[in-house]
Amino acid sequence: MFWRSIMYVPGNTPSMIQSSMIYGADAIVLDLEDSVEENEKDSARNLVSYALKMLDFSGTDVFVRTNSVDSKHFLKDLAAVADTCIYGIRVPKVQKAEEIIYIDQSITKIEKELGLPAGKIKFMVSIESALGVLNIKEICLASQRLIGIAFGAEDFTYDMSIKRTKEGKELAFARSVLALTARACGKIAIDCVFSDTKDSEGLKKDCETAKSFGMTGKSVIHPGQVEAVNELFSPSVQEVDQARRVIEQYEKLGCPGVFSFEGNMVDLPVLKKYQRIYELYGRDKGE
């Protein structure tokens, strides 16, 4: 489970849904929330449900962004997609651990009703408010089924009554806390979207910032952003090569607790970093 790019796809646009799997995103999120007008929630829900049952998404992990738990749509959204090929759901605007427990219980209930294997449907949530940021630790610890935390910058800056800039200094604390807490709790940390789809240099800088905070991947709003995000959240060729050589040396020496490689000490934490890089390289090679 390693998603560098997670691409949003509007849930009420057939042409975008049917081509969503061809752009190379590690995962896609079919959206029933913000991109769908209130009076079209029913049609988007049916469209996404039929798409998941009839289209071939193989090779791309699929999430569905439901409406928030305090909306009248959440349980209907969940019911419409539970018995499909989804990896999980993504629930927006989560602020408290109680909501996580409610989501977990709702999924557990529907898995039982549909006779699905317990734990089949995973979920991620988006933190998009000041209260959500303050409660991240409790949110992360509230469910084993919760696999990741994403950050929603547009709603966060609205909630904070601050202006969002391309440099993103106003988001630094929230992004850092989110990534740190998610990592500490064993969850993945997904960065916010970069809204200017024509600014490739800005996207690159934003990815580098997110990566430096410890984000594991990034939400994407346009297919044209996928390749750059995948590249920027992947190790370089040199890093992968070094990881391979370190691991080979480690195995050649009989897996010692600590050893020297090209003049640098490699102990367990350092080795783990190289192993993680090599794991990602293996994924890219389809191994």
Binding site: T13, P14, Q18, D42, S43, N46, L47, Y50, A51
Partner: protein, 94 residues
């Protein structure tokens, strides 16, 4: 006469309008640039869904803009559900 619709007049989509009529028939009108090639398949799918929903007394107009089967099915089901919400008392399969 009650009616409901779903879908958009956009490429890859289909706009479906369903209306209740006074005849125990299902009347299907299809408009599509690819009507000669796909009208038969579209009508077959529409009749299958209407039959599963146990519906009659309907006129269904399909304005197709190159929709795939999943979109056709989803739009028709939604249109039927919307018609039901307007007072048709038959359950519609989702």
């Amino acid at each position: 006469m009650k009616s409901a619709s779903c879908g958009k007049a956009k490429k890859g989509d289909v706009l479906i309008t369903v209306s209740s009529i006074d005849s125990e028939k299902v009347v299907i009108n299809i408009r599509s640039k690819v009507k000669e090639l796909y009208a038969h398949e579209i009508e077959k799918t529409v009749r299958e869904i209407v039959s599963q929903a146990g519906k009659t007394n309907l006129e269904i107009t399909v304005d197709d803009y190159g929709a795939l089967d999943f979109a056709l099915r989803a739009r028709l089901i939604t249109a039927l559900q919307r018609l039901q919400e307007k007072g048709d008392d038959t359950d519609v399969l989702a």
